[in-house]
Amino acid sequence: MVLEVFAYSFMQRAFLVGNIIAVICPLVGVFLVLKRLSLIGHTLSHIALAGVAFGMLVGIYPIYTALLFSVLSALGIEKLRKDYKDYAELSISIILAAGLGIATILISLGNNNSGIFSYLFGSISLVTREDIRIVIPLGIFIIGVITYYYQGFFYTAFNEEDAKLAGVPVYFLNLLFIILISITISLSMRIIGGLLVSSLITLPVATSMQIAKSFKQTILWSIIFSVLSLNIGLITSFYYDLAPGGTIIIVSVIFLILTISYKFVMRALRDNKGKYSNKEVGI
């Protein structure tokens, strides 16, 4: 019965695109969370939504316009972040408001509600060959850039000032990074949907941080959680005819709850053991 899922070519496409996304989302997500910029993901996904609506309106493939809109506004956020240095979150909410406003106008102009619906909540049946042609090269590009600049991104996330002194090109890496996030978000909208994409960027990282014992482990575990959530979510979505964005994110949330519970139980057990051994010492 499980095999039936893989028999359809649209599901094969969904799994292929989905798994690439499941790797790149937490990969950029780790740095995003540690730089305390989680909300940028949310903002950029709303901008990308405006891009999708624009693409539908003028007849360009929506992922391209989503890419264009989100990369441009990512650069805008970086600029505003410098102008409002002490109110970084202000720049994010300004762009968020602008993005959602434009998206709303473009959607109501477009009159294509079912199309936009699939970009809001994700869709498995609509992943096209065109999507695969975009996602594979850009996915490889993102993995390549993060691997190449791994130490630089790591140091910048830990402490920008010290990274600068160590010769890390901090300004360039920050710019590059925000472009990587906007690409990741635009690519992920097809499967996860614009409303939930930022969750796949942050949730697996949050789960991983509960158990990881090093930075490398944080990355590794977050990718494992994300890939598991995506595949379980996609299969559930197929059999119960639910929007994949919802099922994927709920599976991620379940992983987070399980991890926190596991940690809680382990700590309780350890404390208990400690109590007894102390007593023994006391005797």
Partner: protein, 254 residues
């Protein structure tokens, strides 16, 4: 003759219209252990920042390791532990080894990964500060004093010749401070490291440093440690908390 590693001539600096340093000279030799003392706002951190190039002055000359600071590129040979080095995110999921290793960035090859040789450098640096057993521990799990040692190791990993420290022990208890100063003194002796630090700690000034630079009235005065009357210094501090540097004759200027 001892080799000069830091040379400052006729240096002045002002923030907007406020003059902080006025036409100062300073000479630090290889292997010196120098303490900067003086009241808050007297220009200690400013001079330190001028020496590591994060501030630039229009008037005067700064030479580091024999080269003018303007074109100085050899930052690998300089270590800087800033005042807010410990104000990082305590739950950052990185190990001591990962953090020390990141400072080798400019020594990494095309792909920015740690090779075997670089891993060895990390181990050596951690051994120097007695923290090798903590290599795989998360940085946030360490105490303040241990973190400070890790940040020293992070500068040592690049085989530095001068380490600048800007009040590195704020918020660390006295016992840990002592062992930290002992560590610095031993690095100074064993490796011939030049150490320049800002400190308010009289104990360290009297025992460990061999040159004391006093900051007062936009000027600086260099003393040899043995010439510095720290009892006088102590008495005045006890009498007046607002004044960290007491009045004293600036004798023994070299």
């Amino acid at each position: 003759m001892e080799e000069e590693v830091i040379g400052v001539k006729n240096l002045s600096f002002k923030y907007e219209d406020k003059i902080i340093l006025d036409n100062i000279d300073l000479k630090i030799n290889e292997g010196d252990f120098v303490a900067f003392v003086g009241p808050n706002g007297s220009g200690k951190s400013t001079l330190l920042k001028l020496l590591v190039g994060s501030l630039k002055s229009r008037a005067g000359e700064v030479k580091i390791l024999g080269k003018p600071i303007k074109g100085f590129k050899d930052w690998k040979r300089i270590g800087y532990v800033s005042q807010n080095v410990r104000s990082f995110n305590e739950s950052f999921p990185a190990t001591v080894g990962e953090i020390v290793g990141a400072n080798l960035y400019s020594r990494m090859g095309f792909f920015k990964f740690l090779t075997k040789g670089l891993h060895k450098k990390v181990d050596e640096a951690l051994e120097l500060v007695d923290m090798i057993d903590y290599k795989d521990r998360l940085i946030g799990d360490l105490s303040g004093g241990q973190q400070q040692r890790v940040f020293i190791a992070r500068t040592l990993v690049n085989e530095v010749e001068i380490i600048f420290l800007d009040e590195p022990l704020v918020g660390v208890d006295a016992k840990v401070q002592d062992s930290f100063y002992e560590l610095l003194a031993s690095l100074n002796r064993r490796l011939g490291l030049t150490i320049v630090m800002i400190s308010h700690d009289i104990n360290m000034i009297s025992n460990k440093a061999d040159k004391i630079v006093c900051f007062a009235d936009k000027k600086i005065y260099t003393h040899r440690a043995e010439e510095f009357d720290y009892l006088d210094y102590l008495n005045v501090i006890k009498g007046n908390n607002s004044m960290v540097l007491p009045k004293h004759e600036h004798k023994g200027v070299n």
